[in-house]
């Protein structure tokens, strides 16, 4: 009996909370990236339900001419964009670029979310579907031009994992369909394998990298795969993304299939994205 009482006292000395058993909740991994973009491409992040994200994006001309055009800053191209979360899984976006006077619309849907706790999911997966429309006049007015010739369709699968507090990796196979191409021999469909990551440098800043490898024998000659490197700086409701890239377009058909510049030639463009979020409804 003494032995029994002794053992019961031992139990009482243990961690009381352990009596309740294991935590049976599932927790979603958040903040794999600071913004809905890594640099040019979409990231695995969505704007939350009822949140509007206003994006102001600039890309400058290449730095190769040096002081004469102030390292490209004289030649700016801009995109203004809006993103809105219809639910915590579905996000809509619109934008207008000065380049090609293009307008673009897209949705991003979360299929899987990385989670821990009771239900453990190692990856997050989202899909992006975008329509991009060039609105500049047709170069050849003699031929019969269709509205559909202005259209580009892009589909992207985002597979991401936040490995640690600071490091997140994303793979993003992307398919761009161009309704109209210059030559009959040009491909309408371009498949590109993208990879991006972010490494946090401090609580509020990170180093981001993004590369799209265009599968060989698809793109016209003298067009290259875009490589971008940048920094995210977050200050409360704003995220500033500053970067260098050989691409100067901000929509899929542009940066994936129309990048004539190369890092090796010093054709590097400075650019930034500014994102400001507003909570419109709760």
């Amino acid at each position: 009996m003494w032995l029994y009482l002794g053992s019961s006292m031992l139990i009482a000395q243990e961690d009381l909370l352990s009596l309740l058993g294991k935590d049976a909740n599932t927790y979603l991994t958040t903040a794999s990236f600071k913004s809905t973009r890594i640099i040019n491409s979409q990231s695995i992040e969505n704007t939350a339900k009822g949140v509007l994200d206003i994006k102001i994006q600039h890309r400058f001309a290449s730095i190769e001419n040096g002081v004469s055009d102030f390292f490209g800053l004289d030649g700016a191209s801009i995109r203004l964009g809006l993103e809105y979360g219809l639910s915590n899984r579905l996000m809509l976006g619109f934008g207008r670029s000065s380049l090609d006077k293009a307008i673009d619309g897209y949705f991003k849907y979360r299929i899987l979310r990385q989670s821990f706790g009771k239900k453990q999911m190692p990856l997050s997966i989202s899909i992006v579907s975008a329509i991009e429309i060039k609105t500049t006049p047709f170069s050849d007015t003699k031929r019969r031009n269709y509205f559909s010739s202005r259209m580009y369709y892009s589909y992207q699968l985002l597979v991401a994992r936040k490995f640690s507090d600071g490091f997140s990796l994303q793979l993003m196979p992307t398919w761009v369909h161009r309704n109209l191409v210059k030559l009959e021999s040009d491909h309408n469909d371009i498949v590109s394998l993208g990879v991006g990551f972010r490494q946090k440098l401090s609580k509020r800043s990170s180093l981001n990298l993004e590369y799209f490898y265009n599968l060989p024998n698809q793109l016209e000659a003298n067009l290259y795969s875009p490589l971008s490197i940048g920094f995210d700086i977050e200050t409360g409701g704003h995220v500033f993304q500053l970067h260098f890239s050989n691409a100067s377009a901000m929509i899929y058909k542009g940066f994936i299939t129309e990048t004539p510049d190369r890092w090796s030639k010093g054709q590097i463009h400075f650019g930034f994205n500014i994102s400001r979020v507003f909570t419109l409804s709760k």
Partner: protein, 183 residues
């Protein structure tokens, strides 16, 4: 045989008398901070707590990322920039009810007690003393408490640019409906 039964009964009685414990897995923690620019509020309704009446010991544990904020971005920043929830996932309180003999959770009434113990948050342990109120009514045992924590006490840094948006003082309200723990 009779003697044996008596011993069994005695053991059961001792066990029952000593091990009376109450618990909840849905304790509600409210977080409230007022600053000139912004009011920040969050609720965590999945905190766990256990009381051992025999020793007066009381414990709480809450997952930091179970705090739900009004704005999604605030929640992200709370976990990413302030609490560092990946590094320090849980906030734990382990303490003792000072005058536990005054507390009779089987009789209807309102009991005011002091709880003293250690609050472990963001990798820092600090001893705190919290006045609490236990209410026993026909529905069961309820507990309420309110106290203030200072971010600076727990090594939670508020950058100068957001000093006007985020206050150093955070009011925490605790609300629990306790159930008897059957072991």
């Amino acid at each position: 045989m009779k003697k044996f039964k008596f011993i069994i009964a005695l053991i059961l009685f001792v066990q029952f008398g000593h091990a009376q414990k109450y618990f909840s897995k849905n304790a509600v923690l409210k977080f409230h901070s007022d600053s000139p620019m912004e009011k920040i509020e969050a609720v965590n309704s999945t905190a766990s707590t256990v009381i051992d009446i025999s020793s007066g010991k009381i414990e709480f544990a809450a997952l930091n990322n179970a705090f739900v904020f009004e704005k999604a971005l605030m929640q992200d920043h709370f976990n990413e920039n302030y609490m560092e929830s990946t590094k320090f996932p849980k906030t734990v309180f382990k303490g003792t009810i000072q005058d536990v003999s005054k507390l009779n959770l089987t009789a209807t009434g309102t009991y005011k007690v002091m709880i003293q113990g250690d609050l472990m948050m963001h990798g820092v342990t600090k001893s705190v003393s919290v006045p609490a109120e236990f209410v026993v009514d026909s529905k069961g045992v309820h507990a309420n408490a309110k106290f203030t924590v200072k971010c600076s006490d727990f090594d939670i840094k508020i950058p100068a640019v957001v000093k006007n948006n985020i206050s150093n003082d955070v009011d925490i309200t605790v609300k629990v409906d306790y159930n008897l723990l059957n072991l």
